[in-house]
């Protein structure tokens, strides 16, 4: 199973570094990679007589989306079948990655490795983004030109999608600090690995991203507060990290960032434009209330509903919720609601269960990350960026994964009765 774990991590890293996997070649590689990993997993598991398949409560609503797409194709209820087929392929790849994550990352060691992978990936991409921001000429990796009007940050063609990536990965490291999920001697390392991403987030100037991150911190603080006990979690470490990050940004220069929040700032999508896109998508939903206009068809259907013209092609309406309703109708809406309901219900149960500090940190970090991105999804389309969609599902798995007992409790279970157990964190 190590092959599958490594493969999944490589696939996640690839999707992030390949500009968020928004281009045809990278999406195709992602889909092919997911399929190959599925085959590898199947062969590995088939040779293990004691193997068990983990079935997440979130699988059903995810498969529900796939079923809606298939139904749209079979019943010719999609405005553009080719786009729906493409979207179905992407969703299938996402589901495979989510499914395999649940199979491959179960033990403490596996989750420990995954957590560190996410923290290091977050740090490395953030460091790249900061250096690129100050030294590049608007190109990704200093050589890749992007279309005019793109708002590059890090490996992403849009600063808001970079922010979405950070919202999904940064809380893991912060939660490890807050919930003492790592040994004390590793605190400085984890702190360093989180200061840089916080600075990168502020430097990106993504207003929705920064606000969503603040919301994630509020969620984290609430979760910390719910566990106030002796030797319980503390937000002090997180606050120190945030202050250090802000100090770093202040040293670098904040004028450009402050400008982004100015009411006079005309960069990006205006409020009236966002409102008109929302209205257009709402009308699409009202015209296709049951099954929607077709997965992936917003770019094709929206022009007929556009009221505020600005010459730009609208491939997403900057609100993942209304776009999902428009494309999949009430059926998709029900799947979405079911997904969110199950997600938060299981996440809450698993967070509150008895478990090790590390396990609780992982759950808390995942809950904060998911909450941030779900808030950001009211103003952007991060869930349509393949790398962020994959990370979202990985976080969804972590939030709903079974809590891990503490080492002490695990050792007690393993020890025969009557023998002493040394206390190990």
């Amino acid at each position: 199973m190590r092959l599958v774990r490594i493969g999944l991590c490589l696939l996640l890293a690839f999707s992030v570094l390949a500009f968020g996997a928004v281009e045809t070649w990278s999406v195709s590689l992602l889909e092919i990679g997911a399929a190959l990993l599925l085959v590898a997993w199947a062969f590995i598991v088939s040779r293990d007589s004691g193997a068990k398949i983990q079935w997440s409560a979130l699988n059903a609503p995810l498969l529900g989306f796939l079923a809606i797409g298939l139904l749209q194709l079979l019943l010719h209820r999609t405005a553009y079948p080719f786009l729906t087929r493409q979207e179905l392929l992407r969703l299938a790849a996402y589901f495979i990655v989510f499914f395999l994550t649940a199979q491959a990352f179960r033990s403490r060691a596996d989750l420990w490795a995954l957590a560190w992978f996410l923290v290091v990936l977050c740090f490395a991409v953030s460091l790249l983004a900061i250096i690129q921001h100050f030294t590049s000429n608007g190109r990704i990796y200093w050589f890749q030109e992007v279309a005019s009007g793109a708002d590059v940050f890090g490996p992403f063609v849009n600063r808001n999608h970079f922010a979405g990536f950070l919202e999904l990965t940064l809380p893991v490291g912060l939660a490890l600090l807050a919930f003492r999920g790592v040994r004390r001697d590793l605190f400085p390392l984890v702190a360093l690995l989180t200061i840089v991403p916080v600075s990168a987030l502020v430097l990106s100037g993504s207003r929705a991203g920064i606000m969503s991150f603040v919301f994630a911190m509020a969620v984290l603080a609430l979760l910390v507060r719910s566990r106030q006990e002796l030797r319980g979690p503390r937000m002090a470490a997180v606050v120190l990290v945030a202050l250090a990050a802000l100090a770093l940004i202040a040293w670098v220069g904040v004028s450009g960032i402050v400008e982004r929040f100015s009411p006079q700032n005309s960069v990006g999508i205006s409020l009236s434009r966002r409102a008109s896109m929302f209205r257009g998508a709402a009308h699409i939903f009202l015209d296709h209330p049951v099954i929607g206009s077709g997965l992936g068809t917003t770019v094709s259907v929206y022009p007929r509903y556009e009221t505020e013209y600005d010459g730009r092609v609208v491939d997403h309406v900057h609100d993942d919720y209304i776009e999902a309703l428009a494309e999949t109708g009430l059926l998709g809406g029900l799947c979405g609601l079911a997904f969110l309901w199950r997600l938060y219900r299981h996440a809450r149960e698993n967070f509150q269960a008895e478990q090790s500090h590390f396990s609780r940190a992982l759950h808390a970090g995942a809950i904060a990350a998911l909450s941030a991105l779900l808030l950001h999804s009211f103003a952007d389309f991060n869930l349509h960026i393949p790398s962020n969609a994959l990370l979202f599902l990985v976080m969804a798995y972590l939030a709903t994964s079974a809590p891990l007992p503490s080492e002490f409790a695990a050792q007690r279970r393993r020890q025969p009765a009557g023998e002493h157990v040394s206390v190990v964190r």
């Binding site: 070649w25 190959l36 599925l38 199947a42 088939s46 079935w55 080719f82 299938a92 495979i96 556009e306």
Partner: protein, 432 residues
Amino acid sequence: MEFPLEGMGMRRALPVAALATAALLIYPAAKIWIASRQIHSGRLDRMERGAALVPGDGEAWDRLGRFEQFDFANPNSSLAIADYRKAIEDDPLSAYYWMDLASAYEDTGDLTHAADAYNQSRNAYPSSALVAWNYGNFLLRQQDYPEAYAQIRLAIERDGSLLPIAISRAWRSSGDVNQLIGRVLPANPDAYLQALDFLASIQQTDAALALWQRLAAMGKPFALQPTFAFFEELIRADRGDDARRAWPQALAAAGLPHDEPANHSLIWDGAFATDFANGGLGWRWDSPIGAEMDFDSAPPASGARALRLDFNGGTNLALDGPSQYVPVEPASAFHFHALMRTDQISTDSGIRFSIMDPNHPAEAALLTDNFIGTHPWTAVDADVTTAADTHFLLVRVFRSPSQFFDNKLSGTVWIADVSLVPSRAAGAQLLP
């Protein structure tokens, strides 16, 4: 929930199921990737293979169609039509595919189908400026002017950047400024000013004047600078009366003082009360090297300010400013008056005033006395008579380059109370 994999059967079925699932995913993913590379290759044979690989991709067929339609060597609109129709079968909601189809039909002379295709594109994207623009231009080519102008106006209202080219197209199709004003231009000063600029650039003075009158009648504010091209055209066309009427209107619209000069002077702001307009019928100064301009207090019993020119002694300056174009009556006499003061003006070629007809330089040319050295405030007076075809005079502060070795101009000159009034006085000082 956990499901144990019980029995050999299940454990054997799992890889088979995984392989089948993988095949269902890998095959189409690979096809899409390969097709994408081929479609964007720029080679017809590869594009055809790419389009055939993913037959449901409208974009592939549209690209192919455009390649065939606009191939320099062998354009083939009939083949392009077939490709565009396939694109539309895949994505009937794409306004762009319908417009491409319309364009191909028009190329083959099938105007009925072209019009139908444009109407479909309008249905697909009712709010698009591009659709309205393309349809409007199609109608222009068919000489259906009323509907064409309506579509072009719609396009301009949605996308203001189309205005300059819309003005050009509409004018060239009709040559009628009333059509332009009534049917094409949005009723706002910015649109009218851009049209004014265009008409001035093609020297359509009468049309520009008609447009100006409508602009002034609008009663809405607008900046002064965008009107300069119009005034340059009036000066070029020797339309002195029109310029004299229009200038106060332009000043008023820009929120600037626009009262007629005192004492019936034809020179605007001869007392230098306001900053230079640098265009139109106002004072102009082009900041030559070697000279600096500023304002000082006026001499006693005189106007608001005095103009001061400082010369730094670095150049043998050829000075022809500040200057002002003054509309005048032909075959009339005028009296020019100014106050001048100098301080250590060097060289033999000093500062004087030049008055000439810019459109007929040989007529009504006049140079006042040459001021060098130091002089207190001194009145400079001259009489000038305009010729029968003189409608403008160019009044300017003037210095011709010195012919001697010691020719670098230094010193300071002050000028105040510049006026040009109609006079019954006879005679004029002519340039020797």
